[in-house]
Assembly symmetry: C2
């Protein structure tokens, strides 16, 4: 099976997580991704100022080519124009206004290549009241309400640990680009697509917004309980070696759980007969379940509850996640030998494709060093000479 | 500008958040989405057993058609086969194995319509060691490590408040489907695509996994501090009316912040000269910044810091988010009159498109009642008679 994005070329100005996650998926699925980095390398590289290869860079830049380019130098701008001529997609996640100041707003890009797809992502999007806020995952989580609804009610608001605003924006950006490519295949026309981190994370508050609209009041932070405090059991419970998430998603799960707990009398207890009643006696329900779970290890409980068909999940620690057998089986944890770092674990492609020929296989190739492909791209693709490259190098262009 | 997915028809078996968010975006962008619901309505409707229209349903099912169908009835199966013949995409987020047991695995769907795109999403994907775990957003957050890295170090692990596993899977599913449609436009071939919630959320742990791989030890939960405890200031700070996220993303931000704080002497304090040094004195840095921020309101601080170019964001409460001016400007909060609920706020489309004709405009239409479009779809699209529909209704087929 040929990779679905084979034949497309992406001029990738992305940095840190949002843009790079988007272009990583494009590269996995067969697009030629030319990552255009400043001469000192992309921002995230500087989290390891010695190697310029911190793990987050290695994890999110597999299968890409790296070229260096000084976008403030006239000759650098000329080279970017040549790349845009050869490209299908230009993507970036600079602050709003940066591309225009560099002379590469959508009007300028379209004048260079009318069929180009220009993809732009920022914290709050263009034109709105927050357009010029400087945005990072932390600050978008604050403004978008993620913090307000995360954590224990007696403690201050807390962010979601993963960079959810960055990554959910990155995959929305991928979605917008591929939609635009599909439109171009059908109409012949390029266009501009835009994704704001703020917009992309907002729909995921549906449970909490729903409870607010339906009740007219804000439910306080509920820790690991249901966001609307409307379901029980729904929590994490103590075990002998950590925590276990258990969730009665349907009425049928309560009798099932009572049977696994060997407490058949609870099933018929009038306090617990329906979910509505259990939610009213949430503290008692949680205490009962927790008193039972603490006798077991997470693994024993997972086994017991899964065999019974109960929705549950052990709270895994980060080192357990880094070695997770399911993620390995799914090729989401991929080990490879990286020239700069040795044996490393990187992320695989979460979009899986199957045809009559079988599954699409993806070879994961090491993230490039700064400018590793400058010579290849500037000579083979753009037709320049080694003498020009040497001069540009000495002039701080590449 | 014509909507980019105009002309595609989606047979949508999605439920709750993951599948429905995916098909919501397809409907916004012009696909005809036929939502196939059980006779009693989709699972999430039962969060409001009276109206069958809880807000989360209303928020995520705009612009779709609803038909009822009993997939366990032979005549129900026959009608689904007829829909598949007319469809471009079949999507579902049932537990692994449900579609096969219903007789609608990919092989069966392909035999009905060789060009069909079959899109499947589940908690942990097919074939791996967790494939048969019953999965919900809560339990996937537990297993995927989201909980382990969220919260205060002195407290137990806690989930991210939003349903991040569900929604990030839903947008990955959209991404996979549109990629498959693009491939079909280019090759004429259908295929199957698959997304696991577990796979989709995993890359967003890049900062935390990176710190773990680079240091070889797990950094404890860091609340609102940097996941690797490597950046300062990076935290939420108290104000007179809530919390404020502030983040020195670059070295240049510290002198800027010292100037805004009117504490020029801190700029040259040897304890704070570089980010590395500030991270070493994190408690002192946080105390200094927090002592300053508590004199202001969030709004005054936002104004002061944003004007200075400092990355920051007020921690907004859920009711503030529900009324956010930027989300309204971006048409992410859309108000409409819903026949069942009156004036409601629903979500708009986070994928924005612009051509020379201007921005793509999307009319947001109310989520349907259970089976609102059964008659239209079964007569106009599939060519059945009203007499057949009456019989199937009385027989519990539709």
């Amino acid at each position: 099976m040929q990779q679905p994005l084979a034949g497309y070329r992406v001029i990738d100005l992305g940095q840190i997580y949002n843009g790079p996650y988007c272009s990583l998926l494009m590269a996995f699925l067969g697009a030629e991704v030319i990552k255009v980095e400043p001469l000192q390398g992309e921002t995230v590289r500087h989290r390891d100022p010695v190697s310029l290869m911190p793990h987050p860079y290695i994890m999110l830049n597999s299968n890409k080519k790296s070229v260096t380019l000084n976008l403030k130098h006239p000759q650098g701008k000329a080279l970017l124009r040549e790349l845009v001529v050869q490209g299908d997609v230009v993507l970036e996640n600079f602050a709003v206004g940066v591309m225009e100041r560099l002379g590469f707003g959508y009007e300028a890009l379209k004048a260079i290549n009318p069929k180009i797809i220009y993809a732009s992502s920022s914290g709050y999007g263009r034109g709105g009241p927050y357009a010029h806020y400087s945005a990072m995952d932390l600050t978008v989580q604050a403004v978008a309400g993620v913090m307000a609804i995360t954590g224990f009610p007696e403690n201050p608001p807390v962010k979601a640990g993963p960079a959810v605003s960055d990554f959910i924006a990155g995959i929305h950006l991928y979605a917008a680009i591929v939609t635009a490519l599909l439109r171009r295949e059908r109409t012949g026309e390029g266009c501009m697509v835009e994704v704001a981190m703020h917009d992309a994370i907002y729909p995921s508050l549906a449970s909490n917004l729903g409870a607010y609209y339906d009740k007219g009041t804000v439910v306080p932070r509920t820790a690991n309980r249901h966001g609307g405090l409307a379901i029980a059991p729904y929590n994490t419970y103590p075990t002998s070696d950590g925590w276990m998430a258990i969730f009665c998603a349907a009425e049928s799960h309560w009798p099932l759980l009572c049977a696994v707990m060997e407490r058949p009398e609870l099933r018929d207890d009038p306090r617990f007969a329906t979910n509505t009643l259990r939610a009213r006696h949430m503290a008692e329900v949680d205490a009962l379940v927790g008193a039972w779970t603490r006798q077991f290890t997470r693994a024993a409980l997972t086994d017991l509850l899964t065999k019974a068909g109960m929705p549950c999940g052990p709270v895994l620690t980060l080192d357990e996640v880094a070695d997770d057998p399911n993620l390995k089986h799914r090729q989401m944890i991929v080990e490879l030998d990286h020239p700069a770092k040795g044996r490393v674990k990187v992320v695989g492609c979460p979009l899986k494709f199957f045809t009559t020929d079988g599954a699409l296989t993806i070879d994961v190739l090491p993230a490039p060093s700064v400018g590793q492909h400058s010579e290849e791209v500037y000579t083979s693709l753009l037709g320049h000479t080694s003498a020009e490259l040497e001069r540009w190098h000495s002039e701080g262009v590449i």
